[in-house]
Amino acid sequence: MNVAIQIDHLIKSYGTNTVVKDISFTVKHGEIFALLGTNGAGKTTILECIEGLRKYDNGHIKINGKIGVQLQSSSLPANIKAIEAYKLFCKWNKAQENELFNVFDLEPLKNKQYKDMSTGQKRRLHLALALIGNPDIIFLDEPTAGLDVEGRISLHSQIRKLKEQGKTIIMASHDMAEVESLSDRVAILKDGKIAFIGTTAELTNNVGTKYRIFIKTKNPLQNAVFEQGYWVFTAENISNTLYELLKTCKQTKNTVLDVKIERATLEQLFMDIAKEEK
């Protein structure tokens, strides 16, 4: 079967506040699927419903395969050593203590207590724990939150290796750059609903190719956002917008000091979707 996870009409409320509103999607085997959204969009709730950590009010969840979970906020007893936690989880999962500990470069940390580990080291340990028992489907909730650049690069590389091994990965993130570099498909959540689902390329096509024109002028310009010394305009047609802008500057005798044009990043497109109708 090609479907790893199938979600049908999932609804979840906390009291009177419905945070997941009739959501349906599927995740295929072997793909990296990202749930994107601003804080409070419902990403973690959806993941926790799928993981079995949270009860849901309505809908159906079908999982084809063994799951491994790395939670957004997780912890272990303060005084437990990395190797002890690893052994404990291996024993309860009846799994062999294999090379996972070394794969995540945890060998130098094996006698380090949990309370003395850095955020990155804890993330690596929790990822190793999530992979005990060789799961087919791996859940990663904000996997790089709180990591430094080196930690992020290292974790991204490990996530790519998991994909190469044929694992299905479903991740929640609010970092578009991370999602863009890692995922095959994306679902953007907005107010508990899916605002977009598809590949990153489809996202670009769906929203349309937008450009950002940065102009530095002697005097202020109207109808523009001021960012780091430049007046910024968003446009789909560069030539028309740029022509109009330069014409206005000439007519008002406003000296143009610099002009830059950038193609809108996926992150900006995501922000556009997230902000729509607000």
Binding site: E51, V69, N79, E84, L88, K91
Partner: protein, 238 residues
């Protein structure tokens, strides 16, 4: 070693690394024993007759009521329970591990008092050794069940400290281990009967097995088991 035994042994080691738990399982009870053993046996030579029992009741009450619930609050009041749940570790196992590890710690502490008291203070050893150790085992179990119920009922460490002290202090003051309960006003003497320390002290001082002493301990044990079971079922369903 299977998962269960590994978990128990690991919990025992984690307790030894936790300064707070180490204080309540060993250091404070033994330091209290060293000071009070000397004072009580000097001012009242008759105190030597039940010095082992009184200091043991103090140590076990402290360890089980103030120390044992700490690990449970740390686990069930935090994200650790989620990590265990997704990691395939049953949530109830932490209660069992903590219980067995704490039992071993408190038994070792009790043995230290049992062996040191006669040598250091000339304390009298119990007449019926088998009954004493049976009583000791029962008393540790009942206290740990009370501690477990507290650890599962209370979610925050600060609240736990407050509630635990509320049980521990009257237990010690009203159990008869510091002075005879006959010196207390009737109301306080009766109040002392709701705490396991009062019955544990009586049981450990008995030369014969008295069912009347066991009944109140059994009731406390039963209530604690019901509370713990209910709380655990709630935690599992969350």
């Amino acid at each position: 070693m299977n998962a269960f035994l590994y978990g128990v042994a690991l919990q025992w080691k984690l307790d030894l690394r936790n300064k707070g738990i180490l204080l309540s399982y060993y250091i404070v009870p033994l330091v209290f024993f060293a000071f009070m053993g000397g004072i009580l046996s000097s001012i009242n030579p008759q105190a030597k007759d039940n010095l082992i029992q009184s200091m043991t009741v103090f140590g076990i009450s402290m360890g089980a009521i103030l120390g044992a619930p700490v690990s449970l609050v740390e686990l069930y009041g935090s994200e650790i329970k989620k990590a265990y749940k997704v990691g395939g570790i049953p949530l109830w196992i932490a209660v069992i591990n903590n219980f067995i590890a704490a039992f071993v710690h408190l038994f070792i502490m009790s043995l230290l008092i049992y062996f040191i008291a006669p040598l250091a203070f000339g304390a009298k050893t119990p007449n019926n050794l088998a009954l004493y150790f049976l009583a000791l085992g029962i008393f540790i179990i009942v206290n740990l069940l009370v501690g477990t119920a507290l650890g599962l009922l209370i979610k925050s460490p600060s609240k736990l400290t407050m509630v635990s002290q509320f049980i521990f202090l009257p237990s010690i003051m009203l159990a008869g281990i510091m002075f005879p309960v006959s010196l207390l006003p009737k109301f306080l003497e009766n109040l002392g009967k709701i705490f396991p320390a009062t019955w544990g002290f009586k049981l450990m001082n008995s030369d014969v097995f008295d069912a009347k002493i066991i009944i109140p301990l059994a009731v406390i044990m039963l209530i604690s088991i019901v509370i713990s079971g209910y709380q655990l079922s709630k935690i599992s369903l969350e």
